[in-house]
Symmetry: D2
Subunit: 355 residues, 4 copies
C-alpha cells in the first residue's frame, strides 16, 4: 500500500506531476450528500499557484472532472473518482533531474525505492501537485462535515519567524479563507509578503507553520491506543510533502509545563460538562472531548530554489552543481493552508463515519 | 479497529490496567529469529516504575509469558502472543474515578466513547500500563532489527526547560540505556533528578521530550504519500498516551530556515553517494535516504497529580474537587524512553519487512 | 497479516496446538453488551471432541479465560482477549511429524512457508484446534446478534453421500444444536453414526457439507464489489481448516438453471416488499435483501487417518510410509457445525457494525 | 470500504455503468515491469460483448486510457490509474428501473443500501460492466506473473448441464483463449452455442461454471488461518457479479470421499518432493504446495431476461410486471472466463508480492 488512506472512507491518490492526469478515488462516502462542485472548485483555487504571492507561474488549471460517485448532484455512496488532467506540462524543464538529483527532493530516494523506474518529471508521484486531488477530497469532506455542524479552518501560524495571531483554543476563529495571505493579522500579512518577495528575489525559500482548528466535532469519537484521533490526523498530515512536524493543543510546549498548569479541568454548565481550558487540543485518551480540535504542522522551506546547489552527477558519478530553473514558490505555506484543512477534513469524516 | 497497528507486522494490544491481564499479539513476524527473552525483560525493566527516579511505588512485576509464536527459542512466523498478568491491583485506589473524573485523563472521553461500560479502574484500556506490552513487542522487534544492523536508541531530550545534549544528527549516539536517567550529559541528569524530586514534593508533575535515532536503516524503504515512514512512525507514536507532538529531523525549527540552509546536499564518496547534513532526519519524500532517522516526541506532564483539582461530580452533577491519592510518576519521561524506542522499532520492522 | 480478520470487528487468533495456549483478541466490539460466558461455554462444548461420535479421545478441556474486554459481565468496547491453556499435550505423539510429513496436512507447506521454524507439534498454528478460539469469538458474536433479532443456525447437510433434510430457504429451521449429531432427520443421524463408526474401524475418514442459515439479518447491509457479504463470509469460512468449497443460495446448482427459474421476484405484502423465492440465499449485488442468508461449505475428510500412507522421509530423503497413531476424528463434520455458525456470526456482526 | 481489494497490491474499482467513466487504481505494483498495453487490450476484448456468441449488441469500446503509473512502457511502482470512458450509454433503456426493480438484480438491495441515492442506470456501480477495469487490472497482473513463470488459464467448465473436458489437475491445460467459446472440446463448443442461441430466442438465460488453473506458482506462499490463498482468491471471485460458489481442487466432491482417497501423498523425485495427486488444488493449510492451483466458480444465469417477470411498482406500491428490453447476454459464462483469469491473477500477484 502506498497512496491509500482511511478506515471507513478510503481515499486513493494517483498520478504523476507530468503524466496524463492525477486524481483521487473516495470510497465509502455516505450516500445522498449534496456536493457543490463549484464550492469545491473555490477551495481548490486557494491551493493553486497564482492565487497566492510567491507562487509559481505554472497555470495548473486544476479543473476537476468527476467520473463517478455523484448522480443528480448527490453522492451515490459508491466510489467517487475525480480526475485532473495535466495540461501545461513542459517536461523539458525537468530533463536534467534524472542526472542531477535536486537536494531536498525525493529524487534520490525515489530512484532507490523504484530502482530508477519511477517517473522523474516534476517529481512524479512525489510532486506537491498530488495535494491537488487530496484538496478536492477534502473539499468534498468539508461539505459533508459542515452539514453536521463541523467547521474546519486553518491559517498561517508563522512564516520564518513572523507569527500571525494564534487561534484562541476555546473558540471559532475568524474565517480568512478569502484572503490571498490567509492570516488573522493584516499587519503580519504585509510583512510575510515582503519576506516572501525578498526570498524570491534571493532565489531562496522559507518554511512555516500552519495552524488548524475544528469546531463542532462531537465528543466521544476516536479510539484509544493506535486508532486514536491524533494518530489518524498525524498520519494523513505527514502524507503532505514537506511536513516535518505535527502537534496538538499545546504541542511541544507541553514539555515545559506542570500537570497543574496543563490539565483541562471540567466544570458544570447548563448545557452539560465543559472544560475550563483546551490545552489538550480537543483530544484526551485519543478520543474527542467536545472542545475545539487544535493542531499545527510545520512545513520545511520548499527545496526548489534557484540558487546553485551542490549535488552529484549520476552520469559522471562525481560532484556537480544544480540550478533549478523555472519559477517556484519561495514559500508554499499560504497554498498549504487549504491542503491542511482538506487533510484534516478527510480524517475527521473518516472518524465520524466510523462512529 | 482500535488497538491494532501495522501493515505486514500487525500488533494487537489488549488489556485493562486492573483487569486479569494485558498483552500483545504480533502477527507476521519473520520466522526463525532467535529471541532472547531475558534481553527483552531488561528492556521492559527500563520502563517499569522503580527503575527510575520519580516513579510510582506500584510494583508491576511485568513478567511476560509467551503463549505462542516462539518454539525452541525462535520465532515460528505464526502469531506471537505475550501476556502480562496483573498482580498488584488495588482497585480501591481508583474507586472514586467513576464519580470524579480526573482532569487530563480519559475518564470523561472514555465514558462518552463507551457509554459508561468501559473499565474505569486505573484508566482501564487507556492506562499508560498498556505501554508495557508495546514495549515488549518493541524489544522483540529491536532484536530482529539489530541482526540486520539497525540500531534504535533514544534519550531524554528535555524535561521542563532542562535540555540534554542533543543527538548529533550525523552519527550513532552513545548508549545510555543502562542509566536510570537516560541522558548523555551527567550534569543535566542531576538537575533533572532534582527537578523531578521538587515536583514530587510539590505533588505536581512535568512534561518533556524524548529524542530517538535509528542507525543502519537502509535507503529506499517506505513509500510516498500516505504510507510513508514519517506517517507510519507518527501514527504509532501518537498511540503512546501523553504524546502531543512528533517531529522529524529539524522538526518545527524547519519553519524558520531557508531552503538554502535546509536542503541536505549529496556528494560522492568511495562508498557511494552521501549527504552533507541530515536536516531531513533520514526521510525524504517519505522514503529513507540512508542517513540516520532522527525524531522527537513531546510528552505532556502526567495528569495524575496529588494537588487538589477542580472537576465535576457525576453523581451530584455539580462542581467538585478531586485529589489523586497513591504515588504517581511526577515525570514519565525517563520511563517513556524505552517505550519510544519500542514503538519506533515496531514501525521500522514493519516497513522493513514490507519491503 | 495472517491470522487476523475483519473490518470493524477485528479478530486476531494466536496459538499452536501444543504450545502454552491459544486464544483470540476481539477488537471493536460494541460496548455494554452482556456476555453470558456459560452460554459461550455450551457453544464451545459442541465443538469439543467427546461431545460427538467419531471424536478423538483427547480431552481438550477448553476452558476459556477472559483476560480483558469484559467488566461487570458486559463488553467494555476495548479489546476482549480470551485464552485457552493447552493442558493435555502429549508432544511425543507427534515427534515423527518433522521427519515424515503427513499427507493432506500442512506439514510440507508449513515447512516451506516458515523455513522449518514453525512449531510442528500437532500441526502447530495450522491445527484444527485453532478453531476453538474462533468458536469462542463466534459465541460472543452470536449473543450480540441475537439481541438484535438475528439467529445463526447450522446443521450437517451431508456426510459422504448421506444427506440430511436440507433447510427450507424461506424459513427458520429447527434448532438441532443440542443433538450430538446436529441434523434435522433422526433417521439420517443413525446412518451417519454408523458410517462414521465404520470408517473409524477402517482407520479412515470421510468428508461432508455443513449448511448454515441466518434469519433476521436486515436488508441493505454489505457493499457491492469486493467488500460484499458473500466475499466476507467466504473469506472467513475458507479460514477454517479443511474447507474446500463455499456456496450461497442455490450455489453450484445455479449453473444448471435458467434465469426465469432463478430470479427471485418481488411482490407486495402488508409488511412491505418480499421475494417469492430465495435462490440467491439472501444476498443480491453483495447486499442483504432481507431474506434468510443461506450457505453451505464443504469439508474434506480429515487427513489424519490410521491407515499406512505413502510419504517421504525428510532425513533419508527417500520414500517412506507413515502411520498416524492416536485416535482421530474419522469425521469432523459434526464438530464443524458450531465452528461454521461461529465464523458466520463473526462475519455478520462485523458487517452489521460496519453499517 | 467497498470497492477496494488487496494487501500489498491494492486495487480500487470505480464507476457506474452509465456514468462518465469507469476504471481502476492499482497501488503497490512492482516497479520496472514492462506492460504491453496491446496485449492487455486483447485480454479485455475476450470479455467484451460481440466477441462471444450470446453477447449484447452494445459496443462498449472499452479502450483503456492509462493516466498514471506507467512511464516509458514500464510500471513506475506508484499507483497505476486506468480509465475507460463510457461512450454508448443509452440511459433511456434503463429509465424504468427506478420504478420497476428487476428480479435477480441489485436494484432493490442497492436502494436499501444507498437510500435511493445510487445511480440506477444500467445497474450503476453494481453493473457487470465494472468487471472491465478488473479485467484490465488482471491483464496487467498476468504479464507480471508470466515473467515469473506463472501461467493463469481458465475455460468454460460447464454451461447448463453441458460440460467441457475438465482440466487435468496435474498439468498445464491447452490454451483456448483465442476461441470465441473458450472450451477444450470443440464438440461441446458447438452444443453450447446452440444452447445459448436457443435461450436467446427464448428470451431467457443460463448459468455455468468457470474452471481456472494456475501453473508455476511457487510453494510456500500464503498463510494459515484467514489470510490463506483460498480465502484471498474466494474473496475476490465473489466480487464478480453473479458468482454464487467457489471451490478448490475437488471442491464439493471432497465431501463424498475418504481420507485415504483424498490425501495427496508426497514422493521423492530428482527435482525434489512431488505429490502423486492434486485433490487439494495446490493449497494445503492455506499455503501453496507447488502443484497447480485449481478452482471453479459458479455463475448464476444473467438476471436480465426478455421474458415478462413479476415485480413490484415502486410508484403505485403494487404488484406489476417488467420486461427488460435491449439485447442482453443469454449466457455470460464465455465472457466471464477472462474475468476469472484476471481476478485470480490479481489475487496471486498480491500474495506473491506479499511474500
Amino acid at each position: 500500500m502506498s497512496s491509500m488512506w482511511g478506515n471507513k472512507i478510503k481515499i486513493s491518490l494517483f498520478g504523476e506531476s507530468h503524466g496524463a492526469g492525477i486524481g483521487v478515488v473516495m470510497d465509502g462516502l455516505p450516500s445522498g450528500e449534496l456536493i457543490d462542485l463549484d464550492r469545491a472548485d473555490i477551495h481548490m483555487k486557494r491551493r493553486s499557484p497564482g492565487f497566492q504571492p510567491g507562487a509559481t507561474s505554472r497555470r495548473e488549471g486544476d479543473s476537476v472532472r468527476v467520473l463517478s460517485g455523484i448522480y443528480n448532484g448527490k453522492t451515490t455512496g459508491t466510489p467517487l473518482c475525480a480526475v485532473i488532467e495535466n495540461t501545461d506540462t513542459r517536461s523539458g524543464d525537468y530533463s536534467k533531474t534524472a542526472l542531477l538529483p535536486r537536494p531536498g527532493h525525493a529524487d534520490l530516494t525515489g530512484m532507490a525505492r523504484y530502482e530508477g523506474s519511477n517517473d522523474p518529471r516534476g517529481g512524479g508521484h512525489f510532486s506537491g501537485r498530488l495535494t491537488a486531488p487530496l484538496t478536492f477530497a477534502g473539499a468534498v469532506a468539508m461539505q459533508i462535515l459542515e452539514r453536521r455542524g463541523i467547521i474546519v479552518r486553518a491559517h498561517i501560524f508563522s512564516i520564518g519567524t513572523l507569527e500571525d495571531t494564534p487561534y484562541d483554543p476555546m473558540k471559532l476563529p475568524e474565517d480568512c479563507s478569502e484572503r490571498s495571505m490567509p492570516v488573522l493579522s493584516e499587519g503580519q500579512a504585509l510583512k510575510m509578503r515582503e519576506l516572501i518577495e525578498t526570498l524570491r528575489n534571493d532565489r531562496d525559500s522559507i518554511g512555516g507553520v500552519v495552524e488548524c482548528m475544528v469546531i463542532g466535532f462531537p465528543a466521544g469519537l476516536g479510539r484509544p491506543i493506535f486508532d486514536n484521533i491524533e494518530s489518524r490526523i498525524a498520519s494523513i498530515l505527514f502524507g503532505i510533502p514537506a511536513v516535518k512536524g505535527v502537534e496538538f493543543g499545546r504541542g511541544f510546549k507541553v514539555a515545559q509545563v506542570r500537570g497543574s498548569q496543563n490539565n483541562d479541568s471540567p466544570f458544570m454548565t447548563e448545557e452539560g460538562i465543559r472544560l475550563r481550558s483546551n490545552h489538550a487540543g480537543g483530544v484526551e485518551g485519543g478520543i474527542s472531548n467536545g472542545m475545539p480540535i487544535l493542531l499545527r504542522c510545520a512545513f520545511k522551506p520548499t527545496p526548489s530554489i534557484g540558487k546553485p546547489q551542490h549535488t552529484v552527477n549520476l552520469e559522471t558519478m562525481s560532484d556537480d552543481t544544480v540550478e533549478i530553473t523555472g519559477r517556484h514558490d519561495s514559500c508554499i505555506v499560504p497554498r498549504a493552508v487549504p491542503v491542511v484543512e482538506a487533510a484534516v477534513a478527510v480524517a475527521l469524516l473518516d472518524i465520524l463515519e466510523e462512529g
